[in-house]
Subunit: 599 residues, 2 copies
């Protein structure tokens, strides 16, 4: 809650901080922090996405970065309030470095800094042409023979990728590649997006017919052009597909459809990439400086090997290639897996009179969508939040201000509340035989998402079908696939006309192995996860999502993606990093992590 | 400026107003108004767009409308401030009627109401599904075999206009028809938009290549989906075309391209229209209840008859059909006219090395675009206005709160300032021989626009070309067209390979004459103009734009259009009127004007 009495104290602390930063006195700076502090930096100091945990790590970072960063002018943010709760005072701040305008957030306990978020807003001299800085548009008279907007568009379309090389190539034209493309265009970075499907939005259109977003609309906006207030809370896939297609056009993205990268390698001599593209049948070679994989955090389908798969007489496919229930009415389907895709697919099959059995091989964390919104998201992403002045930008920054190391503490109460509020729901599932978890340390869905990107289902109706026995459930391992169906470890035989492997996805560096080579894939290592030591997220602790939106161990190679919120928010930082390199602004990186896992 | 001391006085006045409105005591109500008061009502009391000028007219309206309107709960608007300046106190208000939630504005002089704006916001029971009321989106489980969004869209596309009749048909799919279509869809009114061009946006794409909007972007937003803050101040025509095309798609409009209405008549017996449409070659008959002409206030080209036109060897066309300067390099062009289109076309021709002469037949009012923005628009429509919390909706309502009768007084100082600030500019034009005016009563551009929709140019660079003699200028009447060019009244002979008639447009009821019949066109009468008695706007005084966005003398026939600001703002009121009729909500109209002019 708002607290005007705390404001002078915060101001005093920031004054001190300015003084000691200017003096570059690291010990004095550290004296302003508690020992168990957290400093999350988004580019401003580290040119990385990096959390320094504890005053020693903070000290190491300052030793390396302070001198050239030259941070100054720390102030309370002019348009946001200071608040305090439970002995913690929070304030939004602005400051500058030698290269950038920045903002951030500070949490203070007993007069010292507990958490600090520092985030780069704009590169000085390269501010985005938005709002007051927007371009004027074409004018007459002063410029004979000037090209019209349309002529400029057409020239660019013809030249980029042939006569003129793009600075960046983005592999993948889904929501991630599109959001990043929009940011890069705004920052004047010539970019080509390579998309294999026929049309922008097809990555959504091609999914099974009843799919809708499971995150509420306020969470999902793309950069610069939010969804109108007439949009439903849960957007249907085709509506999203059409929006993405439109967005690609009105945001003027250079977007190649029916195209895919066949091969890419990094030329150390010239320091650019050589990227072979099949451009709708035509062979093209691109030479960008930067190569971004936006192929989908849920992109590289993972299908387990089961004995007998080649003998199966019916249809079988990974969930990502599942066409939907049409044609299977009255038939039998077995869906292997029990997380998000499995539930969506089972529900759609049941709705179309298919006899469907879900095979649960390990526990799943389930949260009812309404509960997730009510307790997990609505404080920041809802109509109510908007009415309170919490813009999408502010919501994103608020969420970013909580270091991953302590995020579980913030999340656990939410899921405790949900577990209690939805006790009947969970009981119904257990009675039906469903193997539930609430996250390893009961910290719930978002932590599971960050740690392993899987192992949960946001319930939008399928769970009731499981509770009612309409979706049949079997627990256990799959022993083998037979010509007629599936044989389970306990000897149960299930006939099937259709097997769907809702068995998840592999790390995005799998695409690097395919397109570049295994050596480079291993060099950059596993993508995603925090190093929490929980299932599918082996340590050591990284404290940030591996390889996402930041420098990797391979020069010029980047990963972009995540959910719509992350794509939107972190595309800003990735675009700034590419822009800085294009403008030869020094970007001395602090704390590039070592690689401990290759997948 | 903000004035907290005035707030209690306003509250007291509103309390009195509530009391006397409840008592339906007209004399008491009138005692709260000054004698020379103005009450502008947008549907709430009159189901019309009507300004009552003076307390007698206010009394007449109340006698007719008060009893069934049942206005109550007048309050100061919860989210907007009371202000006062020069002895006038202004406040935003909210109130309710028996059928609607409403808002408005009040200006108070010496404790009494000087101007009152009453505006309908939402129909009770038919609130738009926006924001907090937005639809949820598809959910599983509860609804077997429910149609997906895509299936619903396809069903609608197939059925509407054949198996299912639209409630409303909108003739014309330019920005006006599109804005209205979006409002109607939001209000659940089944609507078909009939557009003759190949694609939505072509009405812009097909214009000459260098055309940009002359109004700054903040003025131009469409309903629900504003332009992103990355858009230029003056949007190029093709960019607008693409936006309109996208908008039509994402706002889910039922939009027929390559289609036009061949004939329509009103069936008095069934009280609907019989509308014959050529739907991309297929003959279709529609039977809507409501027919809206959104054919363009600048739609029906007006070409004067000159002797010899049929003998001319070169190319000749109305400005609306001018293809642009390509192919005329090194040739001679004569442009007849000296207003907006004439200037744009002359500038584009000059830029492409065409020898161009503008023929000015009557005076033109010119305002430099920068000056118009600075002094005329930026208070309400600019980045600065947005930063001050002046939303597009608030800006529109603020502008609407100034009655047309006194608008000239508000406008004159603006143009006096501009005239003085740009004295050198105007001198340069006069020296070059240009015949300038500043509006009949020197009240400038917007009054000219409202009165006659023509007679001005918003300078975006062409005037300098006239000043420099690059665009040659001739004043006088055209005597005749010869086989080689044009002969002026003073005997001057101008050779021409191209003649462009930048000679304006006729009243929109010309389309009614073409599509319905002359009798109906005459019955509804001239469209546009205020009845000011100034050139091309003959009296008697109407006090509102004739026939625009409100009931006409022909049941079920409506006109929509205007500039992007008017299209956006007034589409709300027109959509509410159609929605009310669709839901059989009584809409007793007050003050339908008599028709005094048929063109």
């Amino acid at each position: 809650m708002l607290d005007v009495t705390e404001k002078p104290k915060v101001q005093a602390l920031l004054s001190k901080l300015n003084k000691v930063m200017l003096a570059q006195d690291i010990n004095q700076i550290l004296s302003l922090f508690v020992k168990d502090c957290y400093w999350r930096d988004l580019l401003a100091f580290t040119w990385n996405i990096k959390t320094m945990e504890g005053n020693i790590k903070v000290g190491e970072m300052l030793s390396a970065q302070l001198a050239h960063t030259k941070p100054h002018d720390f102030k309370i943010h002019a348009d946001r309030e200071v608040s305090s709760e439970n002995g913690v005072t929070s304030a939004w701040i602005t400051f500058e470095t030698s290269t950038a305008q920045c903002e951030g957030q500070i949490r203070i306990k007993k007069g010292k800094i507990w958490t600090l978020l520092t985030s780069m807003l704009e590169l000085k001299g390269y501010e985005e042409p938005l709002g007051t800085n927007r371009p004027m548009g074409t004018r007459y008279g002063s410029n004979e023979n000037q090209l019209t907007w349309k002529e400029q568009q057409e020239k660019e379309k013809t030249e980029l990728g042939s006569a003129v090389q793009p600075y960046a190539v983005v592999i993948g034209g889904g929501q991630g590649g599109i959001a990043l493309g929009a940011r890069l265009r705004q920052m004047g970075v010539p970019t080509l997006i390579i998309e294999k499907n026929d049309r922008a939005g097809d990555s959504w259109r091609n999914r099974y017919k009843s799919l809708c977003l499971h995150d509420p609309i306020w969470y999902d906006h793309l950069p610069y052009l939010p969804f109108p207030k007439s949009w439903p809370v849960f957007a249907p896939k085709d509506k999203i597909g059409d929006w993405l297609e439109m967005y690609t056009k009105v945001m003027e993205l250079n977007y190649w459809t029916r195209s895919y990268v066949t091969k890419a390698y990094y030329d150390e001599a010239t320091q650019d990439w050589v990227v072979d593209v099949d451009k709708d049948g035509e062979k093209v070679t691109l030479r960008p400086k930067q190569l971004v994989f936006a192929t989908g955090m849920s992109g590289k389908a993972s299908i387990p090997d089961f004995l007998g798969q080649d003998k199966f007489k019916g249809d079988q496919q990974h969930s990502s290639n599942h066409p939907g229930p049409e044609g299977y009415e009255g038939k039998k389907a077995v869906v292997i897996g029990s997380n998000n895709s499995a539930h969506d697919i089972c529900a759609a099959l049941w709705e179309n009179n298919v006899d469907v059995t879900m095979i649960q091989r390990s526990s799943t964390h389930i949260v009812r969508s309404e509960s997730l919104i009510e307790h997990g998201l609505s404080a920041l992403y809802s109509e109510e939040a908007v009415a309170k002045g919490i813009t999408t930008e502010l919501a994103d920054l608020t969420f970013a201000s909580i270091p991953y190391a302590i995020l579980p503490e913030f999340q656990k109460p939410i899921y405790d509340t949900i577990r209690s509020q939805d006790a009947d729901f969970y009981r119904g599932l257990s009675v039906a035989g469903f193997d539930l978890d609430y996250g390893t340390d009961e910290t719930g869905l978002f932590m599971k998402y960050l740690r392993r990107g899987s192992g949960y289902y946001i319930d939008v109706g399928a769970s009731q079908l499981v509770i009612d026995g309409k979706i049949k459930l079997k627990n256990g391992e799959v022993s083998k696939v037979t010509k007629d169906g599936v044989l389970l470890g306990d000897g149960t035989k299930l006939d099937a006309d259709l097997i769907v492997y809702a068995t998840g996805y592999g790390s995005m560096n799998g695409w690097v192995a395919d397109i570049v080579d295994k050596e480079t894939a291993d060099k950059v290592g596993k993508v995603w996860g925090l190093g929490s030591g929980t299932p599918k997220d082996p340590g050591p602790w990284e404290g940030e999502l591996r390889n996402m939106w930041k420098p990797t161990q391979q020069d010029g190679l980047w990963f972009h993606g995540g959910n719509l919120h992350q794509s939107r928010h972190y595309s800003h930082y990735l675009a700034l990093q590419l822009k800085a390199r294009m403008e030869s602004i020094p970007t001395p990186i602090f704390g590039l992590p070592d690689v401990h896992h290759t997948e």
